[in-house]
Each structure stands twice: as structure tokens, then as C-alpha cells.
Subunit: 335 residues, 2 copies
């Protein structure tokens, strides 16, 4: 009843466990005849290799750890999906944790991953992660890691990100070209790369066109839908109210969108709205949301591929590779 092991197979065939182990992994030293016999018995006994024992022995598993802020966010769900598609093909399994945008939880997740002896790690930072020293342990243990999307300038590791600055710059330039002048920005946290870079893009686009930056039109927020709803309410209290809003991402834009709808404020006539990330929802809204698209699924795939390469190459002390994807402005009715 209890699980069959290599020893069971060996006994059954009156050969040694080492031979069975080799036969199972198709080692060239083993004769065809033996291999066949081993495989047959393995099947008959419902033998499943024990990844734990293998991992313990080989000092590495076939598990890739993933830490994301929120599994539910379409962006991360898609990225995970891309990652899984890649790792699946290479016989790796993914272990997923969500930080819930919380630093403490990120730290704990990381510890769990290390304890589980993941072969490598894919990370997107929580919005309130400032100190990143918890990742030092990865270098100490030469566990490869690739940061994707949400990184930090302090991170000195491989990264896959998009050109957030340019994407934001394009989005805001587009608003200006359309004639909007009082352009507000609902910001993301500054410690996170995407929050800061999109903010910079916003500022520079205004400045370049000689539009003065109005502090009242810059509202701090987070990355979630609720943050958008809260922020837009603040903006609606300014006077004069802005005629356009650039939100740090689509969930935030949607949060704003809902409030504007509730208050019967016409989009884009009374207020234009632009998001970032091209969430599938954004195309379905009415008016459809202008947004900046980023190749989410590919980002996941690329990050996973980079990681698998690092794992194959063993520890590499080269300087980190930073892969930057271009974004694309998708103009729809909301602007």
C-alpha cells in the first residue's frame, strides 16, 4: 500500500538500487533489457519518483518560486500564466506566493521559498517594499532571481521590465496633443520603479510642452482599483477640476472611471482618462479606455526563460541583464 521506492523495484528484480536509479533516468550505462524490466516493474508498482529525496541529494529542486503582489490582478495572472507555460515545458513546477502588497508578507514568502530550495525565483515587488535587503540571502546562496515589472533601482539583479517612463510620456503627450491642459496624475508609490518612472514620464511630458506642473493635480495612491476611486474623489474637489487624468495603471483608472460614471461626469468631454497596462477590461468599457499596452504574457515568458538560463549556467557573476520592453499607446474613446 505504501508508496513504492527504488529499493522495492530493485528487490523485485534482484538488482541494485543504483541500477534502478540509472535505468529510470535512461543512463547510457544500463542495458536496454534491464531498462525495460525496470520500467515495467515501476509501472506495475505505481512508482513515482520522490522529488524531495532527489532535491535533497542533488541540492536543488525543479521548482521555481514566484512572488507577486496579487494573483487576482489580471497583469500578474497573465504573467504567471506565461511563466507557467515556459516552466512546464522544462519540467519545472511553480510555487506561487502573493505578498498582498505587503512588505512583511513578502519577506515571509521569500523565506518559505528559500526553505523550499527553489531552483530560482521570479519576483515583482510589493508596493510598500522599500528596504530590499531580504533579497541578499539569494546572492549568498547563489539562488538566481529575476525581477519583473515591479523592480527597484536598488536591485542589482536581472530584470524584465517595460519602458514605463516612455509609456507615460507618450500617454501624457497624447493628452496634450488632444488639447487637454489641466492634466492630473494618480501616482503609484515612489519606491517602486513603475510608480516613479511613470511619474517622471508625466512630469517631463508636461514640462516639455511648457505646461506648468500643478501640485494639486498630483495625487498619491496605490496600485489597486480602490486607490483610483479614492484619488479621483480628491481630484474632483480641486478647483478648477482637471480636464484629464493619467492613472498609474488600469485598475486605478477603472476605479476612477467608476466614480466618474456614478457622478455622471462625461468621459472624455468633461474629463479624459488614460490608464496603463491594457487590462482586457479596458477595451470593453464605454467609452473604451485609452491605455498603454505592455506585453504582459511575454514579460512572464521572458523572465522565466532568463531564469532558466541562469539556472542552467550555474552561478554567473556577470553584471545583471535588464531587458526593457517597449510599450504601445492604445488610443480609445476615453481621451
Amino acid at each position: 500500500m505504501s508508496r513504492a521506492t527504488i529499493v522495492d523495484i530493485a528487490k523485485e528484480l534482484k538488482i541494485s538500487p543504483s541500477t534502478v536509479s540509472r535505468a529510470l533516468r535512461d543512463h547510457p550505462d544500463i542495458s536496454k533489457a534491464t531498462k525495460e524490466r525496470v520500467i515495467n516493474v515501476a509501472k506495475r508498482l505505481d512508482y513515482f519518483p520522490d522529488s524531495l529525496a532527489q532535491g535533497l541529494k542533488k541540492r536543488r529542486t525543479n521548482t521555481i518560486g514566484i512572488i507577486v503582489p496579487e494573483i487576482r490582478h489580471n497583469f500578474f495572472a497573465s504573467a504567471i500564466s506565461g511563466i507557467e507555460d515556459v516552466t512546464y515545458k522544462s519540467d519545472f513546477t511553480i510555487m506561487v506566493c502573493q505578498s498582498n502588497e505587503d512588505y512583511e508578507r513578502e519577506v515571509i514568502n521569500l523565506r518559505a521559498m528559500v526553505s523550499n530550495r527553489v531552483a530560482g525565483l521570479l519576483v515583482s515587488l510589493a508596493q510598500n517594499t522599500v528596504d530590499i535587503s531580504h533579497f541578499d540571502i539569494l546572492q549568498k546562496r547563489s539562488i538566481p532571481v529575476v525581477f519583473f515589472d515591479r523592480s527597484s533601482e536598488k536591485i542589482n539583479q536581472n530584470q524584465v521590465v517595460v519602458d514605463d517612463y516612455q509609456g507615460a510620456f507618450d500617454a501624457v503627450s497624447h493628452l496634450i496633443a488632444r488639447g487637454y491642459q489641466k492634466i492630473a496624475h494618480i501616482r503609484g508609490p515612489e519606491n517602486i520603479s513603475i510608480g516613479r518612472d511613470r511619474y517622471r514620464g508625466y512630469l517631463d511630458a508636461l514640462t516639455k510642452q511648457g505646461i506648468p506642473v500643478n501640485e494639486k493635480y498630483i495625487v498619491n495612491g496605490g496600485f489597486r482599483q480602490d486607490d483610483g476611486s479614492i484619488a479621483i474623489r480628491k481630484l474632483l474637489e480641486t478647483s478648477p477640476i482637471p480636464d484629464a487624468v493619467f492613472a498609474v495603471n488600469d485598475p486605478v483608472a477603472i476605479g476612477a472611471y467608476i466614480v466618474l460614471k456614478e457622478r455622471n461626469i462625461q468621459i472624455p468631454k468633461e474629463m479624459a482618462l488614460v490608464g496603463f497596462s491594457n487590462d482586457p477590461v479596458s477595451a470593453l468599457l464605454e467609452p473604451a479606455l485609452t491605455t498603454v499596452s505592455q506585453p504582459i504574457y511575454d514579460i512572464g515568458k521572458t523572465a522565466a526563460k532568463m531564469l532558466l538560463e541562469q539556472i542552467d549556467n550555474g552561478e554567473q557573476t556577470q553584471k545583471p541583464i535588464v531587458k526593457i520592453y517597449k510599450t504601445e499607446l492604445i488610443v480609445r474613446q476615453s481621451s
Copy 2:
């Protein structure tokens, strides 16, 4: 440089490894003084417990396996999120695989999970899974499993599902009450519980009101958005075309919605539309989509809790528990 082990700590303190092991796990036998010393050294040496070694020894890990059709589908992303929130609190980690709605891949995923010695498994079936004998291995090895949402009548295990029959019945009854007569249904696969039960609900609602079932109005499909687009095109070729459509789930309804919009067919005037699952998108459409809501996040949480209980209780040979959640019809503008 290489990772510190319990033996390293033991040597450092000139005590035995077993004492260290016990101290680390706060075993009552160990004196406070010793515990403190151990913990200090552990910290200093960056000691991380090796989950593999622990798992090998204890013959069980703290990992919960999850197999879902698609991580990207909001329904599953939310369920996973709920699961993760529960397991996180109990110090379990989740290992996620997606079958991509493919039976073969489901089988392989399952093998990987078993090899990884997961403590338990949470499964939602792929749409083309008919034979379910691959799950027999779980019973043989007494690995607890809970099926959630997508199950099969052949499954004789714990389950967490919603009352799909009633939900569908309510939705179609609502359409009838609204005066629609030519009500079509975009079906899900029959082998999957939710596909079959929602279909039955549809049939019975019609029959009960004395509306004849029109085979032409029943289109087979899958669970994805594309399936909805394809199906609605077929329905638009019937004559007369239906005046209402009940789709097996929201992604399918949205696929239909997009095509109707493209063709400028007024919803609900020319054709009403009802979905199932209350995807966040459904509320944002215009007209907003009438749908049947199910407590997704709670389903995930409950399934996880049931699984953890089973894990705690060790193998239980009781008859399977089937937890059925009620659904709620959410009437919006599309009907």
C-alpha cells in the same frame, strides 16, 4: 559560504543536532537558555530550515498543490487568491499548475504534484477531462484532495461547488419572466459538472414554463471567451434568431457580447444576454451584464480549509463531503 545546517549550529555550540532541531521547533523539553543560544547562532549563520529534508523525514511537505484550467481566468485567479490566503496562515505553500483545459496536461500536472509529495491537492477539472482514473493514485497514497467548481459526477471525493442547476434555472426563468421566448443557450462541455448542470437548469426552466426546447438554439462550446464569439455567430445564422442568450459563463457571454456590439445588435432590445460567474468585467460593460454570482473567493477559501482539515485528521475513510454554495442572480441592463 554554503548554507548552514543544524549540524553547523550544533558544532558551534558543542551540543547535539537533535537538541538544535528541538530548540528550533520550540520543543518543551529544551531549556530556555539553550533555545536562546540556538536561535542566536541560527540567526547569525543565516540558517534556513531545509523543507526538503524535513519533508523527506516526515514523509509529508507543507505544500498544497493546485490544478486549475487557466490561471488567467478571473474565476480561478480569485479562487487561488482565496486558497493562498488560507494556506499562508497555516504555513503552507501553494504549488500551482494549469492544465490549459487539456486532459493530457492535467495528468502530467498531477504526476508532478504527487512526485513533489504535496500534502494535499485542490483541483478544478479541465474541460475535456472525461476519464478521471488518473486521480485514483491519490486514494492509493491517501493524499487528500478537494475538487472545487469543476467536478464530475464520477468523482467520489470532497467537493466545493455551487448550485449550478439552480443558478441556471433562475437565470432562464428570469428571462422568461421578462417576456423572452426564443432563449438560446451556449453550453459548456457535458462531461464537466458545471456544463451539464447549467444546461439542465436551462432545459427545466423552459419546460416548466411550457416553452418548447428548440435544438437549434442550443450551441455547444467551451468555457473561453472565443467559444462565446464562435457560438453567437452560429446563433445569428438561425432563423428566427433568438431573442435571448444564456451563456454558460461570463467569459463566454463576453465573447458573445463583443460580436453583438460589432454587429450593432442592441442588447437587450434585440437580444438579451445573461452570463454566469459575475466576473468583475460584467458590471462594467454597457449595458452591464446580467449574471449569476457565485462566492468565488469563499469557494477557494472553503476548499482550502476543508483540505487542511483532512490533512490534519490524517486519512479519513468517511463518505465525501459536498459543500454546495448558493448562487445569486444579479439583474443588470443586459436582460
